[in-house]
Amino acid sequence: MTDKDRLVPDEGLAPASTALPGGAGPLEEFTKPPSSQWREVWDQFKNHKGALYGGILFLVIVLWVYLGPFLWTIDATHIDIRARNQGPSLTHPFGTDQLGRDTFARMMAGGKTSVSVGITAMLLALGLGSFVGVMAGYFRRLDGLLMRLTDLFLALPLLPLLLVMMLLFRDPLNAAFGPERGIFILIVAAIGVTSWMPTARIVRGDVLAIKEREFILAARSIGTTNAKMILRHILPNVLSPIMVSATLGIATAIITESALSFLGLGFPPDFPTWGRLLFDATDYLQQYPERVLWPGLAISLTVLSVNYLGDGLRDALDPRIRGR
């Protein structure tokens, strides 16, 4: 972080930090080291209540799905046919399903897959989007070509294409990597390849603006190579739109994965994800309507928390709003 702090220009931020009517007295003002950009981002972020709670909730959900299985040791695939279709109890807080599998454990296992898919697909889309955006913004020669490509991808009907991709590549990938890993790779790749366009557009716009700034000229005048220029000067400066895209990317990826599973074209039946659990629960809608509630709530809460997080990040990372 410290390396980035030095590189980030802070012209616009200086007045905001001195004008802050905080509790710091005049003496403290001098002894305190000048607050870094990330410190101010955090201060602004803290003030956005929705974002703070959203961030905490998302952290709790992530910890629950990744660390929960270590504490709650019932296996998600353990079939106990005598204890099937039970309501909530102490041994099974969320009840059991039609095969007597513990719904609480299945929710954690499903969440682990859903959240992993969300984060990995977001990283892929982000990487692709940032790469295309930086290339298009930085190299004038590539701009036209790459932006036409982005427009083309935006014109593709994504959900139908995702469904088609699921259908086509499922079997070959399952054969190559095994049923679970194969479908994981397929879903992550499919979501990543179809959701990088907004990031690319935003990043390109920002790169175009930053490219004209004096510090880039200064860096160029001391002979910085293109690769160094992008890695050390351009990328740290477009980090904020990338971070906002990242949070929103997780949300869309989780929803897309659940939608695919819900349409029966995602993960295989014995491999729980939140979308799959919801899909399975709709079969028992008449008898056990409460069963759709848990996965649905989990998806909605995760996406809601991530959306609030992104909202707060956008405000916190925007120097025009910060300090107000």
Binding site: D151, L152, L154, A155, L156, P157, L158, L159, P160, L161, L163, V164, M165, L167, L168, F169, D171, P172, A251, I255, S258, A259, F262, L263, G264, L265, G275, L278, F279, A281, T282, L285, Q286, P289, V292, L293, P295, G296, I299, S300, L301, V303, L304, N307, Y308
Partner: protein, 335 residues
């Protein structure tokens, strides 16, 4: 403006051709064999003939060309024939579905009214709710109404239709028994009772879709109003002594509607895409359901045609949005 429209229309042609090629090449990789369901007792040479009857014998580029000709040349002729009773398309081979062995476009035409009824109503309802909410939340920024509006639209963003749909089914159909959970597309409106039934079965899918649409458009409306409320011309209008209603509802609203109208236009194809899931939840017999069925049955001509229709909608409404923007905002000149 006209030159811009024409230029964009001309540019749309290679885009659409490229998209159709991408879709075709994707489907070309399909591992499924349309002959898989044919009994093993059928001799191989007969199977080969059946394969050729489906048009599978030729190399890919010829099949792509044939599909292009069928879609862009023969299908419009069929449409003209259907309207004017002429016979341009007689004897021409149309895009045939492998599932039903009937022309794809006939099935699409059968399914479109269901989708349009549900999705179209939802879109209009959503917009009608969203606009007042957006206007009032911007006018009273940070009031409790604005906070509540923000929260509701966050929920609209976050709750996916396959959960909100199932949830309303659980509440209103399973527990309360007010509405039917399955949309009956064969239902015909002939008298008052059947009209009431039609309303009842439409309420839930329309609500689910409208919630999402309202969430998006009210946010846009609010942001756009906020941008305009602080402009100098608003102060001028107030200084002239115009009433608050006139200032907000005429001066600010008309200027704020410019980006919102384009967003509404851009949302139309996305709603068709998003309706796939809602149609699946409520068993609406529309286009989305047709696509899912075709994908599961490996019906490649159907999938190709439907996906392409979605692409055409996206490109077309992008164009409409751009042209509308230019028409509504005199500051924007494309030429």
């Amino acid at each position: 403006m006209l030159t811009f429209t024409i230029r964009r229309l001309v540019l749309a042609v290679p885009t659409l051709l490229f998209i159709s090629l991408v879709i075709f090449l994707l489907l070309e990789l399909a591992p499924g064999d349309p002959m898989a369901q044919v009994p093993l007792t059928v001799p191989p040479d007969v199977k080969e003939k059946m394969r050729e009857a489906l048009g599978l014998g030729q190399p890919g580029y010829i099949r792509f060309w044939k599909w292009l000709v069928q879609f862009f040349w023969i299908e419009p002729q069929v449409l003209i024939d259907a309207i004017f009773g002429s016979s341009f398309s007689e004897g021409d081979l149309r895009v045939i579905s492998w599932q039903t062995r009937s022309p794809v476009m006939d099935i699409v035409v059968q399914r479109i009214p269901q989708t349009l009824w549900v999705v179209g109503t939802a879109y209009i309802v959503g917009i009608l709710i969203a606009l007042p909410i957006g206007i009032y939340s911007a006018y009273k920024q940070y009031s409790w109404f604005d906070q509540a509006g923000t929260f509701v639209s966050m929920i609209g963003f976050s709750v996916p239709p396959f959960f909100s749909g199932v949830l309303v089914i659980v509440i209103f159909s399973v527990n309360l028994g007010w509405f039917p959970s399955i949309y009956d597309t064969t239902h015909k409106v002939v008298d008052w009772d059947s009209f009431v039934y039609q309303l009842q079965q439409m309420i839930m899918p329309v609500t689910v879709l409208a919630l999402q649409i309202t969430a998006q458009i009210s946010r846009f409306m609010r942001a756009s109003m906020l941008d305009n409320l602080n402009q100098d011309y608003v102060r001028t209008a107030r200084a002239k002594g115009l009433g608050e209603t006139t200032v907000v509802m005429v001066h600010v609203l008309r200027n704020s509607m410019i980006p919102v109208v384009t967003v509404i236009a851009l949302g139309v194809p996305a709603i068709f895409g998003g309706a796939i899931i809602t149609e699946q939840v409520f068993k609406v017999n529309g286009i989305g359901q047709l696509l899912i069925g075709a994908i599961q049955a490996n019906d490649l001509p159907m999938v190709q045609t439907l996906t392409f229709i979605f692409a055409v909608l996206i490109v077309l409404f992008n164009l409409i949005a751009d042209v509308l923007y230019g028409l509504l905002d005199p500051r924007i000149r494309y030429d």
